[in-house]
């Protein structure tokens, strides 16, 4: 049996199990509480495992291992930002859980006079951030599954060439995610997430132990081998290979690079607490205390996981080597699976390599499926609950009607994501993950924080903050070197979305956070003072009591 058949077989097993869970969840989902919040019956630990699963996307598992394998230390900077950010979530989670019901919109709307515009803004922002994040995951899935199944240019698998396999994968992943969400709601999504999270941790532990074992459990010797194999020596173990690069003789570009790095760090550290699929998971537990416990669990799991990516990334650099990684995928996304094959072969010959590769490949596939489902659920919940239920039906929808709309909305959002991903399938969209973090930090986080802590805040402030933060992040990225005007200094090939020669970039930074996050806060404050509606301090007091004590929580 070839490794490819084994990988494919494990994909099928995972899909069958999760479909079974979805059918069970469908039979046990009755009202809105079940569909949006899994009946709020998950324990803090279960929900924490699922939260960690939501966060450990393919971008962080494969992406960070790949960045470390190719750029050394700088990949570690990424994972530190991703982890530290959870402390902000820990401080906010209990208040958000107590004040809201199903969505971020619930939290923002509780204290304002005019609900409709606030709900509408919350839905717009939730869907926008989710769709960008979805797009990144799904385009990545297409490329990745073809790679994991080992379909190279000119090869065929089940009668498909590499290009067709990419499109088929995107459509299949999209169809499965719509099915999980539309039928199983939060119950199915959470169990899929828990299974994937356990598989992912298990896979990472096995790989880490095998890698460290190769170096006699001596971290310094692992680092030394990675540095030697990278061809860059000790510089590989220091910051500066990728982020904040020094450009000799060009002080301007050096400063731009450093500001860009700080901008990325800011977006990572502030964005997490505003990601829609993370926020909607805060509501799947019985009370605020369980919500806090789930974030504590997530911090532990995510932290241990990122420590292991350090071993995986440096291990891949040392044992697979830069050349072999780049030959498979220039951005390094296959470094972890390649490492699995290499260490598997070392202990179990060809079969060992195939088995371990198949396992890690299936874990990566499960990761993508679970994360996209969480994103679709968050956006369909916001569309149905915030927009349909509170804006169109003026807060008086029948519960069964709203849930039916949510199921339909998941179909709409999912289809939109599939179409966009197929269109963008050959673009390098990895930057969209960082953009989603920047948008969440610029639009959602100011609105959430000011709603909870600023007495004077009002509906005009929420609306201005969300639209201002969202628009500034989008506009700045559109005019950044990510979209146009960045070329490889040696070959002249375009490193932007647009082909070489097109250059309308006006904003020097690739990550907008450094500018768009302050704009988000400034718009929220300005909107509050300039808007005509008054603040409602009585409702703010009510919100504070609910948020801090948990009285009257759903």
């Amino acid at each position: 049996m070839s490794g490819r058949t084994l990988t494919f077989g494990l994909f099928v097993v995972f899909i069958l199990i999760t479909l079974g869970i979805t059918i069970w969840a469908r039979a046990n989902t009755r009202g809105a509480d079940d569909f949006y919040a899994g009946g709020r019956t998950f324990s803090g630990a279960q929900n924490g495992v699922a939260l960690a699963g939501d966060y450990m996307s393919a971008a962080s598992f494969l992406g960070i291992a790949g960045i470390i394998a190719l750029n050394g230390y700088d990949g570690f900077l990424y994972s530190i930002g991703f982890l530290v950010a959870w402390l902000l979530a820990l401080l906010l989670v209990e208040m958000v859980r107590n004040a809201g019901r199903f969505t971020m919109g619930d939290v923002l709307a509780r204290r304002v006079r005019r609900q409709a515009p606030v709900r509408r803004a919350a839905a717009v922002s939730t869907v926008t951030v989710s769709v960008f994040y979805l797009l990144a995951q799904m385009v990545g899935a297409g490329a990745l599954v073809s790679l994991l199944l080992g379909i190279h240019r000119g090869e065929r698998f089940l009668g498909m060439d590499a290009g067709t396999a990419k499109t088929v994968t995107i459509v299949a992943v999209g169809a499965l995610m719509i099915f999980y969400v539309a039928f199983g709601g939060m119950k199915a999504t959470t169990w899929v997430q828990i299974i994937k999270s356990v598989l992912l941790m298990a896979g990472a532990v096995v790989l880490t132990v095998l890698v460290l074992g190769r170096f006699g459990f001596d971290v310094s010797s692992l680092l030394g081998s990675a540095a030697d194999a990278s061809g860059r020596g000790e510089a590989f173990l220091r910051p500066g290979e990728r982020y904040g690069r020094d450009v000799p003789g060009d002080a301007y570009q050096t400063i731009v690079n450093k500001l860009d790095f700080i901008s990325l760090a800011l977006a990572l550290v502030l964005g997490t607490a505003g990601l829609p699929h993370i926020v909607s998971r805060f509501f799947a537990v019985p009370d605020g205390r369980a919500a806090r416990r789930s974030v504590s669990w997530a911090i532990g799991l995510v932290g241990v996981f990122y420590l292991m990516t350090l071993a995986l990334g440096f291990g891949a650099a040392a044992l697979v080597g830069r050349q072999a990684i780049v030959a498979q995928d220039p951005s390094g996304n296959t470094a972890a699976p390649q490492l699995a094959q290499a260490v598997g072969e070392h202990i179990g010959g060809r079969l060992g390599g195939d088995v371990l590769l198949a396992f890690i490949g299936a874990v990566a596939f499960a990761t993508i499926l679970a994360v996209v489902s969480g994103l679709v659920l968050a956006s369909s919940a916001s569309l149905a609950h915030d927009y349909f239920g509170q804006v169109l039906m003026l807060g008086r929808p029948r519960e069964s009607q709203e849930v039916a709309v949510a199921r339909f909305a998941s179909f709409l959002v999912g289809t939109l994501a599939i179409v966009l991903a197929v269109v963008a399938r050959n673009l390098n969209v990895a930057f969209l993950v960082a953009l989603a973090f920047a948008m969440a930090a610029s639009a959602n986080v100011p609105a959430i924080v000011l709603s909870l802590f600023w007495r004077r805040f009002n509906s005009a402030g929420v609306v201005a903050g969300i639209y201002g933060g969202l628009a500034s992040a989008l506009v700045l990225v559109f005019f950044s070197p990510i979209v146009s005007g960045k070329a490889d200094p040696v070959t002249g090939d375009s490193l932007s979305l647009f082909p070489a020669g097109v250059d309308f970039h006006l904003f020097p930074l690739e990550n907008p956070g450094l500018v768009s996050i302050p704009i988000g806060f400034a718009c929220a404050v300005a909107g509050t003072f300039l808007g005509r509606d008054k603040s409602d301090t009585e409702r703010y007091d009510d919100l504070s009591v609910r948020a801090l004590t948990g009285a009257g929580a759903h």
């Binding site: 230390y73 959870w86 220091r238 910051p239 760090a265 009510d542 009591v545």
Partner: protein, 95 residues
């Protein structure tokens, strides 16, 4: 009911709860954001210092990065313990 719990916001015990929460949150946020940006700043502007060897192939950059993990775990555990001991009982009284 709109604004139904607002009167509780005047209670002595509630004001104590809010003061404690805000102080704890400010301390945690101040420490982690400050320390994180010190680390980011060192990574961007103090490359020579970060490159110093500590032991074997382990340098200052790696050590400080690992300390970010340690501090995150410690702050999370500390905050969770404080909330259990000093915030939850007060919240329970007011509920």
């Amino acid at each position: 009911m709109v604004g139904g719990l607002a009167p509780v916001a005047e209670y002595e015990r509630f004001l104590l709860l809010r003061r404690r929460f805000r102080r704890a949150a400010a301390v945690v946020a101040g420490v982690f954001l400050g320390w994180y940006f010190v680390y980011v700043g060192l990574s961007a502007f103090a490359r020579g210092f970060m490159a110093r060897t500590v032991v074997g192939h382990v340098n200052v950059a790696l050590l400080l990065g690992l300390l970010q993990f340690v501090s995150t775990f410690a702050l999370a555990a500390g905050y969770a313990a404080y909330a259990r001991r000093r915030l939850d009982p007060l919240a329970g009284e007011l509920r």
